[in-house]
């Protein structure tokens, strides 16, 4: 089973998302949470990171953290799926292990 990677820092602040996408194996998943949700926004200087992972890695974003930052769902990169905390729990259960990119 594949890994679930969690990224909680903005790609404008740290390179965790870039490293994660570069090293994550095909078929694994990434959950963007906390300030990491900015990586899921389209039309930014860092949008190509997540957009480029399409077809290789499934990308999820934590809805409550989007709401807390006033990022509406129509601003998300195509293919990014929104989950709530319950969905976060399901993702952890569905993957063999979770790797936090702190």
């Amino acid at each position: 089973m594949a890994l679930l990677h969690t990224v909680n820092k903005s790609p404008f602040e740290k390179n965790a998302l870039e490293s994660c996408i570069r090293l994550a194996l095909k078929g694994s998943s990434i959950l963007l949470m906390e300030d990491g949700v900015y990586g899921a926004v389209k039309g930014t200087a860092k949008s190509s990171l997540v957009a480029g992972a399409k077809g290789k890695i499934a990308v999820y974003v934590l809805g409550p953290d989007l709401d807390a930052r006033g990022v509406s769902k129509d601003k998300l990169i195509d293919g990014v799926k929104v989950v709530d905390y319950g969905g976060f729990v399901d993702l952890v259960a569905q993957h063999s292990a979770t790797q936090a990119w702190l």
């Binding site: 906390e34 905390y85 319950g86 976060f88 729990v89 952890v92 292990a97 979770t98 702190l102």
Partner: protein, 130 residues
């Protein structure tokens, strides 16, 4: 499924303690088991009962303590990280000649062995930090 939670960041620092708390609540609501939450590094600051946020703000220490009591979760604060940051229970205070103690209800002080055990016994270990 059995989940283990590791919190490496203090409350009101960024968001890790909040995220971990919300995740823990959601996992319990879905019927999963959380046997232990381990507080390491600055995460030990989640375990001081002297925390006094403004009354209209969430009190993370009390929230964690309440969750632990309600669901019988073992909340472990790393002893070495706690000593460095001035977190101690009555025994630790006596041992080190301190004039008081500040460990919050629902927490206990123990060692890294508890984290290793958690990693072995839990089906999934989820890490929250800065």
């Amino acid at each position: 499924m059995k989940f283990g939670i590791l919190v490496n960041e203090g409350p009101y620092t960024h968001q890790a303690s909040d995220s971990a708390y919300q995740f823990t609540k959601a996992a319990l609501a879905k019927g999963h088991t959380i046997d232990r939450v381990f507080f390491y590094h600055d995460g030990v600051n989640n375990g001081t009962r002297f925390t006094t946020p403004p009354t209209d703000d969430r009190n993370l220490v009390n929230l964690w303590g309440g969750l632990a009591k309600e669901h019988n979760i073992d909340m472990v604060v790393c002893v070495a990280a706690a000593q460095r940051r001035g977190i101690c229970d009555a025994d630790e205070a006596k041992r080190h000649g301190k004039d008081g103690n500040n460990l919050a209800d629902g927490f206990r002080i123990s060692g890294l062995g508890q984290l290793i055990e958690l990693g072995i016994q839990a089906d999934r270990l989820v890490v929250f930090g800065d």
